[in-house]
């Protein structure tokens, strides 16, 4: 983990999908080594926003992104930046756990291997380390070399987290990462996030207000593709400035 100025600065980010204006003039600074929760009703552009942070929109020719996102003072949309480095730096945890079609071990080893870590010893050490970090080691240590598919959803999501961490990112992006999990698995993942914020900058998209209350140090509230309000969690929940925010917190719409 390098750099004291761990943070993300976004300047006039606009995203169009199929001609629809999804994100409108986003200007935002996200603090480092904290948990930032991006909240807002469904369809407000939260996921689109998150995907622009690791340039996943590159894979979809219908999406048009303009503006700048500075990660550690480097514009990730700069022409000279290699998208591979960006994605390695910004680990993404998807909404539904999606193990790759291989064994538990190979899933976690996937990142290190594609980023050319060759030593077998190093790889098994890495795999064990991150499986332990994700709190999954004890549950899978006897079936490392069998398929990841039979694991429970909660285990799969922790596996995906271990897999993401094994590429050694500096930022963790979670796209409603607990929405398909049961309450106990959700709690485990949430506790992990709290532990991880010591070393990582974490950005979570969620539509569950209570989850944001539990986890967030910083809140970004989005509505219809715009940022309505952003600020430290305490301030946001106790002293919201915008009427729309007050209504959302009060539960007038969701």
């Amino acid at each position: 983990m390098t750099g004291t100025n761990h943070k993300i600065r976004i300047e006039s980010l606009n995203v169009n999908i199929d001609g629809q204006h999804i994100l409108k003039n986003i200007d935002l600074t996200i603090p480092g080594r904290e948990i930032t929760c991006v909240i807002g009703p469904s369809g407000c552009g939260k996921s689109t926003f998150l995907k622009s942070l690791n340039r996943m929109h590159d894979e979809n020719p219908d999406v048009n992104v303009s503006g700048s996102i500075f990660v550690d003072n480097q514009d990730i949309y700069d022409r000279n930046i290699n998208v591979i480095d960006i994605r390695k730096k910004m680990g993404l945890l998807a909404q539904h756990p999606c193990p790759l079609p291989m064994s538990v071990f190979d899933n976690v080893a996937y990142g290190p291997r594609i980023h050319s870590l060759d030593s077998k010893k190093e790889i098994s050490k890495t795999v064990e380390h991150y499986l332990r970090l994700a709190g999954l080691w004890d549950e899978v240590k006897d079936k490392l070399h069998s398929s990841a598919a039979p694991l429970s959803l909660g285990q799969q999501q922790r596996l995906c987290l271990a897999r993401g961490l094994a590429t050694e990112p500096e930022y963790i992006l979670g796209d409603e990462a607990t929405s398909s999990l049961d309450p106990i698995s959700t709690k485990k993942i949430e506790q992990l996030f709290v532990t991880l914020k010591e070393e990582y900058t974490i950005i979570l998209v969620t539509h569950i207000l209570r989850q944001a209350r539990r986890l967030a140090d910083y809140i970004v509230f989005m509505y219809l593709g715009e940022i309505i309000e952003a600020g430290p969690a305490d301030e946001f929940f106790n002293n919201p400035k915008q009427q729309l925010t007050k209504d959302y917190i009060a539960g007038s719409f969701s």
Partner: protein, 298 residues
């Protein structure tokens, strides 16, 4: 009212079940019928003699099937060796690299290509591939070849099954969930890494299955192969020799089989052999696939 509904439900189930079982029944009936017809040939010559002898002289009662079996396997192997890599690369390109416009253009073209009648491929092979082999390829090797050869058969067959393979492979690749490839991309994998480590790996059972399908198709392909293989009853010793796959043998001699004693039974045996070859091939690949599925985790 309730009774009537449940009767309908039950009779519908039985009706469909019977129809489904019929397809298997036909397979068994065909197998038995062929075997019964072929039995006199086996009784007169002995199965081992028929399978291992290379002497084919129907008028003398000599029916050695080895050249035909070898020809069938040889031509099909060449065809799949050419077609599979080309089809895989084409399908990967169409699935992972091509733009939407190109994909939209290719899909109907590939369907069209797989719908072209074999005889047209046969004619094309006779007027282009055969002379090409005779004039340009053969002189570099053995020297003399009419061009009607194992190689010609393999090439024409390959060109025929490529559209079939590409169409099926693209379907298989497209069935991979987007979340899975996205997971790979978001870990920083390049396209090529994702293709190799996720797409191909995940598709392996499907790739094996469509390969089996197209090889079975190649085994049975008659018209196109018959037109370019040379149909010589001698054993093919090189790619440039003429050969005589089993389907071509049956089609060419069906008309006169009744005029020579034992000929009919021998041709029925040829058909039965083809049947067994396809059957064995499918069975073996099924087993291999099961084994692969246990070894790797798709």
């Amino acid at each position: 009212m309730h009774r009537l509904r449940s009767i309908k439900e039950r009779s519908a189930r039985w009706f469909m079940r019977i129809i489904a079982y019929c397809s298997i029944l036909f397979l068994i009936i065909i197998g038995i019928a062929l075997f019964v017809k072929a039995f006199p040939a086996i009784k007169n010559n002995g199965l081992w003699e028929l399978l291992t002898s290379a002497r084919w002289r129907p008028s003398g009662g000599k029916f050695g099937f080895l050249p035909f079996i070898i020809s069938t396997l040889y031509v099909s192997a060449i065809a799949i060796a050419i077609a599979l890599p080309l089809s895989l690369l084409t399908a990967i390109y169409l699935n992972s690299y091509a733009s939407k416009g190109i994909r939209r253009f290719f899909a109907p073209v590939i369907d069209l290509l797989s719908g072209i009648p074999p005889v047209i491929y046969g004619v094309w092979g006779t007027i282009t591939i055969v002379p090409f082999i005779a004039n340009y390829i053969a002189p570099h090797f053995s020297g003399q070849s009419s061009g009607y050869s194992v190689m010609a058969g393999g090439i024409v067959l390959a060109v025929m099954i490529i559209p079939l393979l590409v169409g099926l492979l693209v379907e298989i690749f497209n069935s991979i969930p987007k979340e899975m490839t996205d997971a790979s991309f978001s870990l920083g994998a390049t396209k090529l890494q994702t293709v190799k480590r996720v797409i191909l790996r995940r598709s392996l059972p499907g790739i094996v299955a469509v390969t089996v399908l197209s090889v079975s198709r190649a085994f049975g392909e008659t018209m196109a192969v018959l037109m370019v293989c040379g149909n010589s009853t001698l054993m093919p010793h090189s790619l440039l020799d003429a050969c005589y796959p089993i389907p071509a043998l049956i089609a060419n001699n069906y008309g006169e089989m009744l005029s020579i004693p034992g000929y009919e039974s021998a041709l029925m045996l040829a058909a039965f052999l083809l049947f067994v070859i396809v059957f064995l091939f499918n069975g073996i690949s099924r087993l291999t696939l099961n084994h692969l599925e246990k070894r790797f985790h798709f």
